[in-house]
């Protein structure tokens, strides 16, 4: 009986699914979705999980062979990149002629390890579900807005931006924050909503401190510094970023005015960095840059054991930058 039902439903369910990427949240979501589909097709569907690194070819054969009682099955093979040499041909032989009652789901980190296995699965016609780590800011915004949409809510780009700033980059935490917000507010999310529930900054890097300090915005630099220290950023990379900030401005200023894209090659830095530094360079005199660089070097020593209070050492450097910079804050 079961077999008749599942064969009717099977066109909707792909026989082989390849989850490609190492973003944990997306991988576990893909697994959950596939099992949910299988359960929807056949409530009695059996789900079994294995680790590809320790699975033996014999066990796999048992897992994928037809069951005496019929019924839909989902075999989840985790860490496909770790599959041993003798396991891969067995899987490939199965994929060439899959059992329509079984869904084989393989997760693969997508890196160089076990790449051939992932590629041949794709070539054999596996349904690919991307689960790559999100690296770009815009993609994160898309993820947040998409997450709200998925939960039946709505959210603007500015609200998504605010949420990202407050929660940080971890997708699991972002997803949790989204569902919490939808549950609490009913789904219409704007900047005020985010501001009511979230405050502060989750991730401040040394570079935001340096950017503000070099631009002469002492207040913003101090604020960023304390957020950064508060969230556990080590003072050493902050001090390095401060030195890098002065170095960038000094080199760009010394190169003179010009097209950032043309200067990129000679200065060996990306054009956006040059453009930013060109804006920051206003208000800096050569002598100011010399004393700022000296302050940055002293700061570097202070955070590496030269000073009792490392946070204060950085604070002092920010003030030294402000003093070194002509024109003062704008």
């Amino acid at each position: 009986m079961g077999s008749v039902v599942s064969q009717v439903a099977s066109p909707k369910l792909p026989p082989v699914v390849l989850v490609l990427g190492d973003e944990e949240l997306l991988v576990s979501r893909a697994i959950a979705e596939t099992t949910a589909q299988a359960k929807a097709a056949d409530a009695g569907a059996e789900v079994r999980e294995f680790d590809a690194g320790s699975l033996l070819p014999g066990e796999l054969a048992e897992l994928l062979s037809p069951s005496l009682f019929g019924g839909r099955r989902v075999a989840v093979l985790k860490n496909g990149q770790d599959a041993k040499k003798d396991l891969v041909p067995v899987i490939m032989a199965y994929v060439a002629d899959p059992d329509p009652e079984v869904t084989l789901l393989v997760t693969h980190a997508g890196g160089a390890k076990g790449k051939a296995f992932g590629d041949s699965l794709q070539k054999a016609g596996a349904t690919v579900v991307p689960a790559v780590k999100i690296a770009k800011h815009k993609d994160r915004i898309d993820f947040v807005t998409g997450e709200f949409r998925r939960l039946g809510g709505k959210c603007g780009a500015d609200a998504a931006e605010a949420l990202l700033e407050a929660v940080g980059h971890d997708l699991r935490e972002l997803a949790a924050a989204c569902s919490q917000l939808v549950a609490d507010t009913g789904g219409r999310i704007d900047l005020a909503t985010v501001a009511r529930y979230y405050r502060g900054k989750a991730e401040v890097s040394g570079f935001s401190v340096a950017d503000a300090a070099v631009a002469g915005d002492t207040a913003a630099a101090l604020e960023a510094l304390h957020w950064a220290l508060h969230t556990g950023v080590d003072p050493v990379p902050i001090a390095d970023a401060l030195a890098d900030g002065v170095r960038t401005v000094a080199r760009v200023a010394a190169a003179g005015r010009g097209n950032a894209y043309q200067m990129a090659a000679t200065l060996g830095m990306p054009a956006w960095k040059i453009e930013k530094a060109q804006r920051q360079a206003r208000g800096w005199s050569p002598d100011g840059l010399v004393s700022a660089m000296r302050a940055a070097a002293e700061c570097n020593e202070a955070v590496k054991g030269g000073s009792e209070d490392r946070a204060y050492a950085i604070e002092r450097t920010i003030f030294a930058f402000a003093k070194a910079r002509q024109g003062g804050p704008r």
Binding site: A250, R251, A254, L289, V290, M293, R294, E301, K304
Partner: protein
């Protein structure tokens, strides 16, 4: 009259110290712990090695340089002499504990069990304490020979210092170094005089400069730096150049030994083997290879810093020469071949600004010693050299 192969023959320009050590080796004024101090290149480790050889010498007079005792110590194969030559940034406590334990055994063949610690200023605090315990209550036939730049508490713990007899080595005169280069290495006298002055009393550095054209080229490049400081951009470019050249120099010194050490260890751990279990054995060895890499990294960091420090000393010599000419002081210049440049600079700069520049170089050296990123320290220094 002693033959010229005498173990103390290579200790240039240190008659007082040689006298002390010679009589100690003969039994007058011998003690269990010695501290050799003196500026870099004055021959601290040479003195310690020579003294160790004299202590193990089996003929008369002590330190003959030809007997098996002297010979094996000098080649580093004497069973009762152990050398600690730190290649990394510091001497770890684990190594020191092991050596202290070994030093407690009685000598196998020689008269003394000798432990030579070159660069004792690189002892970590814990390693210093481990050594202190042994120096405090020394085994009967054990001698500790420590080398450090000075007996200042920054270099050697006061507690160890107070238990050592200090042998102070002075910076050998340039003439003595030049003479040694000519007589021992057959260097052309004119070149020997030039490099002996340029090395500022550092015998090893002088020999390197005399023999290695690349080292001379690097020195020439460093001496060209002050003239090229034309603007802020140039400062950063020159800083990159200085750092890169230090890296190249360090790489050249360590790359080969790194690779051979690694392959030796891999072979020892069964790499390249075939058959059942071979792959597993190599996988298990990954930790040891990591440890080796960590040690090599530490060594290369030190080599880079040392190379950079040499460059900074050359640069400091340049500004010193400028200052000397501004004051018309009756002392010999360090960089004789750069006299036209230093002379021109002496005309242009004020004495105060020269002094400020010299100061900034010394501050940069101290900063690098204090673990400041070399790049940042050098950039700050060059900017100040440019500013004056």
């Amino acid at each position: 009259m002693l033959p010229s192969v005498d173990v103390f023959a290579h200790l240039t320009g240190q008659p007082g110290a040689v006298e002390t050590l010679r009589s100690a080796a003969a039994g007058v004024g011998m003690t269990h712990a010695w501290l050799f101090t003196g500026p870099a290149g004055s021959g601290r480790s040479v003195a310690a090695r020579a003294f160790a050889a004299a202590l193990q010498c089996v003929s008369e007079p002590k330190g003959c340089g030809v007997c098996t005792g002297c010979h094996t110590v000098q080649t580093g194969s004497h069973p009762d002499v152990r050398f600690v030559v730190p290649e990394g940034l510091s001497i770890p406590v684990a190594l020191m504990r092991e050596l202290v334990l070994r030093s407690a055994t009685s000598p196998a063949s020689g008269r003394w069990q000798v432990l030579v610690v070159e660069d004792a200023d690189r002892l970590t605090e814990a390693a210093g304490n481990a050594l202190l315990k042994a120096v405090e209550e020394p085994p009967e036939r054990t001698v500790f020979l420590l080398c450090a730049p000075s007996d200042h508490p920054d270099d050697i713990p006061l507690t160890i210092r107070s238990r050592c007899r200090v042998v102070n080595l002075r910076q050998p005169a340039a003439e003595a170094v030049a003479e040694l280069l000519v007589s021992r290495d057959g260097v052309d006298p004119a070149l020997a005089t030039l490099v002996a002055a340029a090395a500022q009393g550092h015998v090893g550095r002088a020999r390197r400069l005399a023999r290695d054209p690349e080292a001379r080229a690097r020195r020439a490049a460093v001496l060209g730096v002050p003239r090229q400081l034309s603007g802020i951009g140039a400062c950063f470019d020159l800083a990159s150049g200085l750092i890169a050249s230090a890296e190249v120099e360090a790489d050249a010194a360590t790359a080969q030994s790194d690779a051979s050490e690694r392959s030796a260890m891999e072979t020892a751990l069964g790499a390249g083997g075939t058959g059942k279990g071979a792959a597993g054995a190599v996988r298990g060895a990954a930790g040891q290879l990591k440890e080796l890499e960590r040690r090599q990294k530490s060594r290369s960091t030190r080599a880079q810093r040392d190379a950079l420090d040499r460059a900074l000393l050359d640069l400091a010599g340049f500004y010193r020469d400028v200052l000397v000419q501004q004051w018309k002081a009756p002392v010999a210049p360090v960089h004789e071949d750069a006299l036209p440049m230093t002379g021109a600079a002496a005309q242009r700069w004020t004495k105060e600004s020269t002094l400020r520049r010299l100061e900034s170089i010394m501050e940069c050296r101290a900063a690098i010693e204090a673990n400041v990123k070399p790049r940042i320290a050098v950039e700050a220094m060059l900017l100040r050299l440019w500013q004056g």
